[in-house]
Subunit: 338 residues, 2 copies
DNA sequence: AGGAGGCCGTTATACGTAAAACTACATGCG
DNA sequence: CGCATGTAGTTTTACGTATAACGGCCTCCT
């Protein structure tokens, strides 16, 4: 409890155990077999325990030239989705003795600051979501090994990418709605500049184009429930035939759409079918439960981390998108005969 | 682009600019006024830019003996609430040149690992939520400056605490329901061992005890929508008079309760009133919108960080709980005459 | 007997940075 | 002139760790 006393160093431990600092390092680093006797090793460990010694990570990192720490750059942290990504990445990291530090891209933290200023930890590499676009320039400037999540493989010069098969997800959604008989779609698009959202619109367009007589309108909103509500309300209030199916870029947008639809006095799925994308807890909290596409966020995180470890190792990361799965619930049904 | 070439150091910059390493440190550290001439300073900065120099943080941290990095230990990262806490803490931290590193307490990352093993960053201090209970022993072992969020001020020997005024929140909820005429309560309690949940039950009990003829039953569930649903369903199916008001420990539990109530064929708020606590996005996504207590997560994070900065500075942190605010929405109404 | 090798350590060094201590020269002032 | 003050740097050192290089002593084999 001695106030002002500094943390014990390996030299303090050495003194207490009556050995040299090198011996302490060997013992605690588990490299002592054949170099230090059993009794001495025990004495060192006991002294370290008594003093409450913890190695100075800054010194270790400096000495070793690596930190076994990796940065995960994600957009706003407000969704379970990125929590899952983190969990998966951290699990794999832990298995390899790595740590993961989060940089939630700034939202009110100030003008698009460089992530390295905030996450001051010394880093071995970076995993970045393509949604955290503002941080990318800073990252690119650095020569740290980089893995991009959900990013255009063409556009991310050199950096390894790991992608969810969102295109297939939207295809499954579209097939499902077409099979139910829907022909008139409204696409509630996320107003976020990111490749992963661009391909949603693209796939919906190309898939419906193969069926004659289909129409697709588009509304656009930031990913908040309130914005989604107002956007949907104005879109559905527009003149012309009302769409019978509403395809949302993610579950949160769908939740907003639910509110708009209720306000307009319409029923789901009788008057209009709604689909989401993510399968958050939200999807089963709302009534009726949402037909959506399940994304395996943890697997996404795991694959991202594995890719980064591969890059750090000089190996080639595993290829192939991560499969996704349509989950049909109560928010979709055939269009009412009219 | 030279592959395998190592990152440039301040010595490389010095050589390129034709000065000593010390001069580089002075210039880039902004301590050069009166020590280095303007032209030389410019030359150094230009050389640093050209080489893409970034200081080695491990070395800087070692030299300075501090890292300007702080660890935020939170429970599962799946709620917006802790995202808000992070945002607030990071804002204040950035204003003081600090960084914040997150340690989401393990949930499938392995058996209650020591947070410092995962967040390998060298740290100046720690802010920990009392909900991340498993990590606390490891933290206590360390002698890092510590601030506890929502923790029993008596139990946290020495560590500074910053608390939301949850007691007042539950009091506001209870007053509201009593004023509406409710007398028979069901308390859906979070099955999490944490002081912040203990005081919810305590306050509900003491407040209702002042009004004759009130009853309080308790159901208990982990904080997931599914668990909350089953717990509520069995509790409401139990014999005896049905409660007319359901007080939930947080919004997520309330969302589960909604589903149970719908399954039982009851209506909110006609047959039963429901309240939450947090005011997440979820609260306005469900129908009817949830009467709940708004917690200012960002302010919570800000105050936590300010307290830690005070501790690091040898000052005494600001006293006083953070006020909370009841938000009345559509899920509460007078009990139906029966 | 003598040296080869195993055992049990120690001494010395480097990692990259910040900053204290020092040097060298010019200018101003009594 | 002699000394203080100011300018513009350089030299040197320390932070705490991991490990390469070194060295004594004992045993055992030929």
């Amino acid at each position: 409890m001695a106030r002002g006393s500094t943390r014990p160093t390996s030299r303090d431990v050495a003194e207490a155990a009556g050995v040299s600092q090198a011996a302490v390092s060997l013992v605690l680093g588990d490299k002592w077999r054949g170099r230090v006797s059993q009794p001495t090793a025990d004495r060192v460990r006991e002294a370290a325990r008594q003093l409450g010694y913890r190695p100075n990570l800054a010194a270790r990192n400096l000495r070793l030239g690596r930190t076994r720490t990796v940065l995960l750059v994600v957009p706003v942290l407000t969704t379970e989705f990125f929590a899952g990504v983190y969990t998966g990445a951290a699990r794999i990291a832990a298995e390899h003795g790595f740590g993961v530090v989060l940089y939630p891209s700034p939202e009110g933290i100030g003008p698009a600051r460089d992530p390295f200023a905030s996450a001051q930890a010394a880093l071995d590499g970076v995993i970045a979501s393509s949604m955290a676009a503002d941080a990318l320039t800073a990252i690119r400037g650095d020569q740290l090994p980089l893995v991009m999540l959900d990013s255009d493989p063409e556009g991310s010069l050199g950096a390894a990418t790991v992608n969810l098969d969102i295109t297939d997800g939207i295809r499954q959604v579209t097939e499902h709605l077409l099979a139910l008989g829907h022909r008139h779609f409204l696409h509630l698009a996320a107003d976020v500049p990111s490749w992963t959202f661009d391909i949603r619109a693209r796939e919906l367009a190309t898939r419906t184009a193969t069926v004659p007589g289909t129409t697709v309108r588009t509304a656009r909103a930031p990913i908040t429930i309130e914005d989604a509500r107002t956007a949907t309300e104005t879109a559905l209030g527009a003149p012309g035939p009302r769409p019978t199916a509403l395809v949302c870029d993610d579950d949160k947008l769908a939740a907003g759409a639910y509110k708009a639809i209720r306000r307009l006095g319409l029923r789901i799925p009788d008057d209009i079918s709604v689909t989401g994308l993510d399968d958050l807890a939200l999807a089963t909290a709302i009534d009726p439960e949402l037909t959506t596409v399940k994304l395996d966020a943890e697997l996404f995180g795991e694959r991202g981390m594995q890719a980064l470890l591969a890059v750090l190792d000089g190996r080639t990361p595993q290829e192939g998108d991560i499969p996704v799965q349509l989950v049909v619930r109560g928010s979709t049904a055939p269009p009412s005969a009219s």
